[in-house]
Assembly symmetry: C2
Homo-oligomer: 218 residues x 2
DNA sequence: CGTTGACTTGAAGGTATTCAAGCTTTGTGG
DNA sequence: CCACAAAGCTTGAATACCTTCAAGTCAACG
């Protein structure tokens, strides 16, 4: 269930010449780089592995997480197309990174003539902001507020006020929000009963009342 | 109670010549700098203020926190002597920073010939690690585990396996751990009854069984 | 078409919160 | 130096919220 034993199904492919340039500039990291494809629930890197490259999501979705000694999982972040992950302090990963669905990940390897700090610093600061925002959610908000905040966060990142795509399972959402998957399910039902959302499909949320949802987050 | 209205009681003093060198190197930030003194519960910076300098705790203790719209507070971190805070993404602070007790804070202003990223990046990555560790605590640990982890964290930072000094109130601890101050109080009593700690004074914890406390964190 | 995994739903139970009262410590003024 | 006030802390009882356990439904896939 925790995908700890997920085998690596990545197939690396060097992209054809014309498509290799990375959209944005990442000084200190290779601009021309391989894209790896990962199936659902594949390990991208594991806790304890050496750090080094950055990872740019071309398409798909990624979760990063830690485990407690007795196996409880805390997902620290989700990453979607266009977002970068993989920077950490020290030379070993403290987290696991896994694909949630079939994904394409561009591996940005550090180059020698380094300006890496210029690339990593804004990413790190942004992640820090997000992590601290998340601390507020986990520390001070109830289940309904957490789920509402999560949906709004996804809506914003998916650039839509009306429709949210959930590539991850209820269990993933639960492990991100510090809840159980049953509670996530119940809260979604409640939001549905409140006419704030509609579940077009299990993993397709339609936002019926954006402001109402927003008010729930306090 | 939230010290929102705490007035600024800082008295700035330029340190005498021989003592001005900052212990460690902070490239891109002024090495010779003023130390400000803050009384208990004084605002160092507020949410919305412009960012810029870094702050090095010379002595005392600092909390940084955010508030929800309805006034719930989440303390994101405590900072003690030798630790640096104040770096954030963007040009405005997302957090409040306040002294917990009478404190001396060295203000490190950015210099022009900048190598600031070299200084800020390791600090940011370290903070990110700490924040993500904290996410695991808030998301997946119960009250006893949270308090135990907190005591061990402080013990490590205070370089003692037997004695922990708590400069902050029970309410501060609660707002850091996502609990109520009553629960913090009850958990400390429980740890006392388990003979894992002793309360020499309200804010002086003696660790009687370090390993036992460690096991509680899972 | 049957099986598997993901999801939903219900009922019981547990943990932390809320509300309330009392205690301790600290600081201040008489 | 003592008395009092105020704030911080402790403790108890009732309650709320989320979890756990269990059963059942739905959807995807071979």
């Amino acid at each position: 269930m925790l995908s700890m034993t997920a085998s690596r199904h990545a197939t690396t492919s060097r992209a054809p010449r014309g498509e290799t340039a990375v959209p944005a500039a990442f000084p200190g990291f290779s601009q021309i780089s391989a894209v790896s494809f990962y199936n659902e629930d594949s390990v991208i890197y594991a806790q304890g592995e050496k750090t080094g490259p950055l990872y740019l999501v071309e398409f798909g979705a990624v979760r990063t997480y830690r485990l407690t000694a007795d196996g409880r999982r805390q997902i620290s972040a989700f990453y979607f197309a266009g977002e970068v992950f993989g920077f950490e302090a020290g030379d070993e990963h403290h987290f696991y990174a896994e694909s949630i669905e079939r994904s394409g990940i561009r591996v940005l390897r550090p180059t020698h003539g380094d300006r890496q700090a210029d690339t990593v610093l804004p990413l790190a600061l942004n992640s820090l902001i997000r992590a601290q925002e998340h601390l507020l959610v986990l520390g001070r908000q109830n289940a309904v507020e957490r789920v509402a905040a999560f949906l709004l966060d996804l809506a914003e990142r998916q650039d839509s006020e009306t429709h949210v795509d959930l590539p991850m399972s209820r269990a993933d959402i639960a492990d991100y929000l510090g809840l159980t998957f049953e509670t996530v399910s119940r809260v979604l039902r409640k939001l549905k009963e409140l006419r704030l959302i509609r579940l077009a499909a299990t993993r397709q949320v339609e936002i019926l009342n954006f402001d109402g949802l927003n008010e729930l987050c306090e």
